[in-house]
């Protein structure tokens, strides 16, 4: 699989650091920030493929951050990762468009598989859009002379 980049958002600094280290060892372009606000700011200036988002954070919480991300970057896949198992929040996250809702402690390989699956989904969406654009362009050209 081609390399892809992931932004991890978590207010637990130690947890985040360890996770980033382990992800980098697995050849992933991994970046980290500590809050929802920082995540939105980061996404303005950087291209990433997937965001892994903690649910419970001081300031903007995970669901709110997810909503904002989905609004500005609908193709970005977001995985929720939380220490608070909660049926309602899980459900809300999935409805807003999260790719999955995972619970800590997470098996690192399992997380990696999820990231790969999410990236594949994103790639297919992009491919589809590319074709759609090609169709649009190719149909536009002959008709432009009408």
């Amino acid at each position: 699989m081609e390399p892809f980049s992931v932004l991890f958002v978590d207010d637990e600094v130690d947890f985040l650091e360890t996770l980033l280290k382990r992800m980098k060892k697995r050849q992933l372009n991994a970046f980290g920030v500590n809050s929802g606000e920082e995540a939105l700011a980061y996404l303005k200036d950087h291209e990433v493929d997937i965001v892994v988002l903690d649910v419970r954070m001081p300031g903007m919480d995970g669901i709110e951050t997810l909503r904002k991300i989905k609004k500005t970057n609908p193709l970005l896949e977001v995985i929720m990762l939380t220490g608070h198992a909660c049926l309602e929040i899980a459900r809300e996250g999935m409805e807003v468009g999260a790719f999955d809702y995972l619970m800590k402690p997470i098996n690192i390989d399992e997380l990696l598989y999820k990231l790969q699956d999410a990236f594949k989904k994103k790639s297919i969406q992009l491919e589809k859009i590319k074709h759609l654009e090609e169709v649009m362009i190719s149909s536009k050209l002959p008709q432009s002379g009408d």
Partner: protein
């Protein structure tokens, strides 16, 4: 890039790409025609030949569908795994807590929701009713998870005068019972008040502690003592650093002032934990929590927090987990009692705790505060008093009491060494012992059950009751004596002491001395310690037996050992020098003997069976309740008219329904498109076979233009493995086979569709493989038997699975059932999880690496061929045996071949 970005912005979300492809701004633009055509191709079941221009689009469509299907399968797999975990937990082999239930219930719910989403992608709008069912089940499960206990009062302080045994919800059992003793039995107790459960809740809520505790609990492995240890330390720190809200502080101050007025001057107090659920019958929480003795006003708030924090001591956490208590249900009330500077004190058992045949009263006594009896740190006197009037002292065991604990005048407790003369003096007169015994019997009669009573004698000579609780008596069999067997006697290495908890256990010795040693304690070891300290309680669920040098059966550790059914022998002098670290010993606590080595006879005689601790506990009840909405499967037969969303009662039903429908949707989509690349191909293996193959994604080495696909062009790992097993060993009857050999048998059985009753759809009529590189789903009818095999085999062991389902047969019911059971046995030997309902068998194997999964697929291929028509011989025990042996032998051969091959491959790699 700009064009793409622009386009993306018009989409609300990728999911809407499907449901609302036509955005307002795009409407009425000429090229929309083409775009509509694009979408039509994506989703229509139009069967006209495809425009070559659209083939690329179709490829993408197929790719996307397949990815959705794969996500659906992985969510299905995860749901089933979690359900199996929940089911296992329900059997109660190991303890679990609320966070286990909460995470797993959430995980099932999320994965079922993902399955529904994926199915909606595969068949938009077709199964909308599933959402209704999902919502209903989710709501129920969530409601059970969210149940909280309503507190009867919001008062944060109650005086002891206002309490009796009905006050347990407000004051905790310990303080409620003390109120009962004072106000109903009219015995003397210290004056005081209780800081209630409402106060505790106020404190926890004010500092948002429960949320943080739940979060940490979820992230730790409750089997891992190191995790628990650091969790315990962190939470206790957190509690102690928290702030007591002003209203609570004000209330405590008021109560203190009232108490001083009542007492006629300055006081110090004992702060005693009185948790809800503590001291209830059957779960004593003995010594799990902290008490602070001789506290002055200056430190009462800090001491309150320390007692509250002790709810998270290591032993209290393990105890709760092992006994199935919800963390949030244990509310910590704290009793505040005027301190009694005791001359002597101790614990009374109104009957013997280790045998119900002995109805004498047992009094343990020490000099000074009774603390050291309870924590097992000092040897104590024992007085045994007969309950027949007139009462007589039947036994007096006066120990060497090296020290005592007394109050400092201002605050705190001081440990004092005793002179030799003092240390050998009995701490009770016979008269006092008789008085104590009388009090014990009065309390026992009031409650109608044996009691465990803590008492103190003040300087004035007055007897004060500090607490009382039900005493659990252990039912033992006939009186046992140490073995008379001379061989056994030779192996005796220690004897005597006190049976703190009966039974026998064996294991390697672990010498425990410092607190941190609990981390290194190996499962199944015998704990040998100097003192019977309460902190050892956290090891009891892992210990085979306990031996200590000091401590009596009235201590906390003894209590917990009895509760957990762990044999414990206390009072073995010099034990930590007699036994060597790692030495295997057998402890016969009932007979007060310790032997070298393992003596199985003793273990079996003691009939040591650990109690199912979770059974009936609050957490177990919650899991049972939640499980009933998740685990049972009602939808069995996809051919039945009842197989529909409306009949999905549990999450399992939904997964079953979706899985079935997703396979059909995948199949139909392939079939309905006249897209040669993705239409089904007939398998060509030497001759054209009656097996069809549908390539979902990357199942072929190269694209197949024509009608047939040859076996060597199949690039599906599970299908190749299956086929290998299928052809490995020829079928040799009965019934008598076609002499042309195995191939024709396969050919015949698969063409004879006249034998196939109740044909449902094209998918079921023939033998179909749906494949990709790592996936294979096989649906086949061989004769009368309908079976489906599904497998995902890749480099991701955690996602690997094989599922095998089997149903039907031509013979009568009892023979059919016979065969299903026959196959069940074989599959279970291979490590499959098997369930049978009527003549329907469902089995699963998960999470092994690729090599192992491939082997199992081969064996299933073999079984698919060789178990057909076995029902014909099921009435005859002899032939059942014959085939059982043959099949097992064949499987061994298959396994051996794979093993050999692997070795060869490894050799090859080495060279």
């Amino acid at each position: 890039m700009a064009a793409r970005g622009d386009f993306c912005n018009r989409l609300k979300s990728p999911r809407n790409f499907f449901s609302e492809p036509v955005e307002h701004s795009l409407r009425n633009i000429p090229y929309m025609k083409k775009i509509r055509h694009f979408f039509k191709n994506l989703f229509s079941s139009d069967t006209q030949p495809e425009d070559p221009e659209n083939i690329e689009e179709l490829r993408v469509a197929f790719k996307e569908r397949y990815h959705n299907f794969k996500l659906l399968l992985s969510a299905n797999n995860r749901s089933l795994e979690v359900m199996a975990d929940l089911e296992q937990a329900l059997r109660g082999d190991r303890p679990y807590d609320m966070s286990f239930i909460r995470s797993n219930a959430t995980s099932v719910s999320v994965n079922v929701f993902r399955m529904i989403q994926s199915l909606h992608h595969l068949a938009p709008g077709k199964y909308a009713e599933l959402n209704t069912r999902f919502n209903a089940i989710e709501k129920t499960v969530n409601a059970i998870l969210k149940q909280t206990r309503a507190l009867p009062t919001s008062r944060m302080i109650l005086p002891l005068n206002a309490l009796d045994k009905e006050s347990a919800e407000v004051a905790g059992n310990k303080m409620a019972n003390l109120g009962e003793v004072k106000n109903r039995i009219h015995l003397k107790v210290p004056a005081g008040f209780v800081i209630t459960s409402s106060a505790f809740k106020r404190f926890m809520d004010y500092n948002s502690l429960q949320v943080e505790i739940d979060r940490k609990l979820q992230s730790i492995d409750s089997d891992d003592i190191e995790d628990l240890y650091s969790f315990s330390a962190e939470i206790q720190q957190l509690v102690i650093r928290s702030r007591i809200p002003d209203d609570l502080e004000e209330a405590i101050r008021g109560a203190w002032e009232d108490l001083e007025a009542e007492n006629g001057g300055k006081i110090t107090v004992a702060l005693r934990s009185s948790a809800l659920g503590e001291d209830a019958e059957g779960s004593s929480f003995a010594g799990q929590y902290r008490s602070e003795l001789n506290v002055s006003y200056e430190h009462v708030f800090q001491a309150y927090k320390e007692v509250v924090a002790s709810k998270y001591s290591l032993q209290a956490i393990t105890y709760r987990i092992n006994k199935g208590f919800r963390d949030e249900d244990i509310l910590m009330c704290v009793g505040c009692l005027v301190m009694v500077d005791a001359v002597s004190g101790g614990v009374i058992y109104s009957r013997s705790p280790v045998t119900h045949r002995d109805d004498r009263v047992f009094i343990n006594a020490v000099w000074g505060l009774p603390k050291s009896v309870v924590d097992g740190s000092v040897a104590c006197d024992l007085f045994v008093v007969s309950r027949q009037t007139p009462m007589s002292i039947e036994q007096r065991m006066i120990s060497l009491k090296e020290r005592k604990f007394v109050c400092y005048p201002q605050e705190g407790v001081c440990r004092m060494d005793l002179t030799e003369a003092e240390s050998l003096l009995p701490c009770l007169t016979d008269d006092q012992a008789r008085q104590l015994a009388e009090i014990a019997i009065r309390i026992e009669n009031h409650y109608g059950m044996p009691q465990d009573i803590e008492w103190a004698i003040a300087g004035s000579g007055a007897i004060l009751i500090l607490q009382c609780r039900p005493l659990k008596q252990i039912q033992t069999g006939e009186a046992e004596t140490a073995a008379s067997d001379p061989e056994l006697r030779q192996r005796l290495i220690a004897g005597g002491g006190i049976t703190a908890s009966p039974g026998a256990g064996s294991g390697p010795v672990y010498l425990g001395d410092r607190g941190v040693d609990v981390l290194a304690f190996p499962e199944g070891a015998v704990l040998v310690a100097r003192q019977a300290l309460p902190r050892w309680a956290s090891l009891l669920n892992r210990a085979a037996a306990v031996i200590t040098e000091q401590g009596g059966f009235a201590g906390h550790l003894a209590n917990v050992a009895r509760e957990f059914g762990v044999p414990a022998l206390f009072g073995i002098p010099d034990a930590s020098n007699i036994f060597k670290q790692g030495q295997v010993i057998t402890v016969d606590a009932s007979c007060q003997a310790v032997y070298d080595g393992l003596i199985p006879d003793l273990l079996s005689r003691s009939g040591a069976s650990r109690t199912h601790l979770m059974e009936g506990s609050p957490v177990h009840e919650i899991l049972k309740h939640i499980g009933s909405h998740i685990i049972p499967l009602h939808l069995l037969d996809p051919d039945s008219r009842e197989f529909k969303p409306a009949n999905c009662i549990t999450f399992h039903d939904i997964t079953r329904f979706i899985h079935e429908k997703s396979v059909t949707e995948m199949f139909d989509f392939g079939k309905d498109h006249n897209f040669s690349e993705r239409s089904s191909k007939q398998l060509h293996y030497r001759v054209p076979m009656q097996w069809w193959v549908l390539n979902l994604d990357d199942g072929f080495k190269e694209e197949v233009p024509g009608k047939y696909v040859t076996l060597d062009n199949i690039d599906s790992i599970p299908m190749q493995a299956f086929w290998k097993g299928f052809i490995a060993i020829p079928w040799d009857g009965p019934p008598a086979m076609d002499r042309k050999g195995m191939l024709s048998v396969m050919y015949q059985s698969t063409t004879n569709t006249a034998l196939t009753p109740g044909v449902r759809s094209a998918y079921a009529e023939r033998n179909y493989f749906m494949i990709s590189k790592h996936y294979c789903s096989l649906s086949s009818r061989l004769g009368y038997h309908f079976s489906t095999i599904e497998a995902l085999i890749s480099e991701r062991p955690r996602e690997n699975y094989i599922s095998f389902q089997f149903k039907g047969g031509a013979a009568d019911t009892s023979r059919r059932l016979g065969r299903v059971r026959f196959i069940k046995d074989i599959l279970e030997e291979l490590g499959f999880r098997v369930q049978i309902k009527e003549d329907h068998l469902a089995s699963r194997l998960e999470n092994h690496d690729m090599a192992h999964m491939k082997k199992q697929m081969e064996i299933l291929g073999y079984l698919t061929l060789h178990t057909r028509q076995l029902d014909m011989i099921m009435a005859n025990a002899g032939s059942v045996n014959y085939y059982g042996n043959k099949i097992r032998k064949d499987i061994d051969t298959l396994m051996q071949e794979s093993a050999d091959r692997q070795t060869e491959m490894q050799k090859g790699e080495m060279e």
